[in-house]
């Protein structure tokens, strides 16, 4: 073991710990209430997780929340990004989720046609 080895181990392991802490740029919140799940939120959540894993986006967190009270728009998701308005998307499915990751999360351009609110 020399200093260089130690540094390498540290850098690799730091990433793993960072993941469970909150050093995040973007937070994706998926509505996982009963109506959300009935409308397919589970698959949407899974899609986000997969897409973000595949793209190795370390600074993005996916989490869930309960009912928003707007059942007709489920599955709903919210994107939180520091210094930017919160974007709410409605009626999301697997394909739209992939589009959101590609355009919004990676590209920085919200997909306006799915946006139901920006606050």
């Amino acid at each position: 073991m020399n200093l260089e080895d130690l540094k390498k181990i540290r850098e690799k392991a730091e990433k793993d710990i960072e993941l469970r802490q909150k050093k995040t740029r973007i937070k994706i919140v998926v509505g996982m209430g009963t109506s959300g799940i009935a409308a397919g939120a589970r698959e949407v959540l899974k899609t986000f997780v997969e897409e973000i894993s595949n793209r190795n986006l370390l600074d993005v967190v996916v989490t869930q929340t309960g009912e928003k009270g707007l059942a007709s728009q489920e599955p709903m998701i919210e994107i939180f990004e520091e210094g930017k308005p919160v974007i709410v998307y409605g009626n999301i499915d697997k394909k739209k989720a992939q589009g959101i990751v590609e355009n919004h999360i990676v590209g920085g351009r919200p997909v306006m046609e799915y946006v139901i609110e920006a606050k």
Partner: protein
């Protein structure tokens, strides 16, 4: 790479294991798999998160939600509600997250309120993963010390930091290292005293269970600074989990070349052996501990010679406490000046306390030296249980002193407490409410000493037996006021004549209980 959405940290330490943590862990893993979440949710073991007496404790990240008193029956609900649907189960959540439970790596305002040096990684990293320890600054100080500092520079830094022994005696660590480094002998040993025997103290156990690599790193630095190439950790045999984790940590460090030969290409060789003790209180005394490592009966030795000149197998030996050593990496990494920012003028740094007894939230905390007893009991300990009044606290374990209400606002550090004929000792704070019977309390303390007296010297062997006779008579309301005087007389004689600190320190609980509660004790004999 797999994206992990949530990490569930389950606190696995001796207390939570008794409360059923393994069963909860199994149930969690199964339920997460059943819900198809295994790819997204990871369950990790960690050391104590500082919450005692609350059953099995879980922390869910990234939210940082603490759940307490979890049983396997609650697991399905927890997984479905929180991990699947994202709804915090308020019923099971730790209602108020006291300051001490806020563990954060960022230097926020909260961090200032709870300066964590020793416990920095406890309840945060997985103690069985050397990689996580390394990511959390582990072995960085050893790397710095061995590659860019000379032994005397390290000693100067530790001396300047003003670090003192945290086992109770408060001897300056830097000075001890300096003496040891100047002894000319090709073979030297560094011994870590993890024989934590003071009743009510369990800080070293939780440090070892939560961050064993910190101790290994500290011993490497200590060995390099003093010229010791062999380390021993003398640890209580009952501390099964500490031993298991420490042994795994040592094996992992060896496989990474952090122990062994030519560490960090410095030419320095070092290795550590774990020695199990059989639980005798007197073996916490350094010379008795050394005898025990040598395979002999745990009796204290004559001093001088001190272990520094002739210790283990007659070789120069440095004996340091777990908590003391665990401060070293921070001092080396961030410098003595930074360390001195914490604490009081005479005692720098932090102190780890175990709070127990009649407090609302018993547990483990680390605060700056000089924190008042009032803050520790009422702020960190959540105040007296069931809204009762504070009567007194036994500070420093059985060999400590009872402190009454007039001591609540005294700044607690080693130097300051000595002025009040009290001792910080091991950092155990046993809090008693107004309904506590002080005679009963003193009786159990004295019985403890009688049981633990090693029998080596007459004053302690006979003194503890006589004291027990007296207190038993007083407790049974059959004593006289002469018996009460006898308590003081005998313990004073023991203080002057006993061979080691075991017999010498009985005066503290006896005289302090008489100072505050003489009337109460006398009422039992009249």
């Amino acid at each position: 790479m797999n994206m992990v959405r949530n990490h569930v940290l389950i606190s696995i330490d001796a207390n939570t294991i008794i409360a059923g943590a393994r069963a909860v862990e199994d149930a969690l893993i199964k339920e997460i798999a059943r819900q198809g979440l295994s790819q997204e949710i990871v369950v990790l073991e960690t050391g104590s998160v500082g919450i005692e007496d609350q059953g099995v404790v879980l922390v869910v990240y990234p939210e940082g939600i603490y759940y307490t008193n979890i049983t396997p029956a609650e697991v399905p609900e927890l997984v479905e509600e929180h991990l699947l649907k994202g709804r915090v189960v308020h019923r099971l959540m730790l209602k108020e997250t006291p300051k001490r439970f806020v563990i954060t790596k960022e230097k926020t305002g909260l961090m200032k309120e709870q300066p964590r040096i020793v416990l920095k990684n406890c309840g945060f990293i997985n103690p069985e993963s050397i990689d996580e320890a390394i990511a959390a600054d582990g072995y960085q100080a050893a790397a710095k010390a061995l590659s860019s500092m000379k032994p005397d520079e390290i000693i100067a830094e530790v001396k300047h930091a003003g670090l003192t022994g945290r086992g109770g005696a408060a001897f300056p660590t830097g000075l001890k290292w300096e003496f040891a480094s100047k002894v000319d002998n090709p073979v030297k040993y560094i011994v870590c005293n993890a024989d934590e025997g003071e009743p009510g103290t369990f800080k070293d156990r939780l440090i070892l269970e939560g961050d064993p690599h910190k101790l290994i790193e500290s011993m490497i630095i200590g060995g390099y600074a003093t010229g010791a190439t062999k380390g021993f950790v003398y640890i209580r045999g009952e501390y099964e989990l500490s031993i298991e984790r420490l042994e795994k940590a040592i094996a992992d460090a060896r496989s990474y070349g952090l122990l062994g030969t030519n560490i960090f290409d410095s030419g320095f060789d070092f290795d550590i052996t774990v020695m199990k003790g059989a639980g005798a209180y007197v073996c916490g005394e350094e010379t008795a501990l050394i005898e025990s490592i040598e395979g002999k009966r745990g009796h204290p030795r004559n001093k001088p010679p001190y272990p520094i000149t002739a210790g283990l197998w007659g070789k120069p030996t440095i004996v340091n406490n777990v908590e003391t050593l665990s401060n070293i990496p921070e001092i080396i990494l961030k410098g003595a000046e930074n360390f001195k920012k914490y604490g009081t003028e005479k005692c720098s740094g932090t102190k780890v306390y175990t709070i127990l007894g009649h407090v609302a939230t018993p547990g483990l905390i680390e605060t700056e030296m000089g924190t008042t007893l009032r803050d520790i009991i009422f702020e960190y300990g959540g105040g007296i249980k069931d809204g009762k009044r504070f009567k007194c606290a036994l500070v420093g374990g059985a060999a400590g002193a009872f402190l009454g209400p007039d001591m609540l606002d005294v700044k607690m550090d080693f130097v300051n407490l000595r002025e009040y004929a009290a001792a910080l000792g091991s950092g155990a704070i046993l809090v008693m409410d107004e309904d506590t019977d002080i005679v009963d309390m003193l009786k159990s303390v004295l019985h403890f000493f009688k049981h633990e007296s090693c029998g080596h010297c007459v004053p302690c062997r006979l003194g503890t037996a006589r004291l027990v006779e007296l207190i038993d008579r007083i407790a049974a309301s059959k004593g006289t006021s002469k018996d009460v005087e006898g308590l003081t007389r005998i313990s004073e004689t023991m203080k002057d004549t006993s061979f080691c600190p075991l017999g010498q320190s009985l005066i503290l609980p006896v005289s302090s209980s008489l100072k505050y509660f003489k009337d109460e004790i006398l009422a039992r004999v009249q």
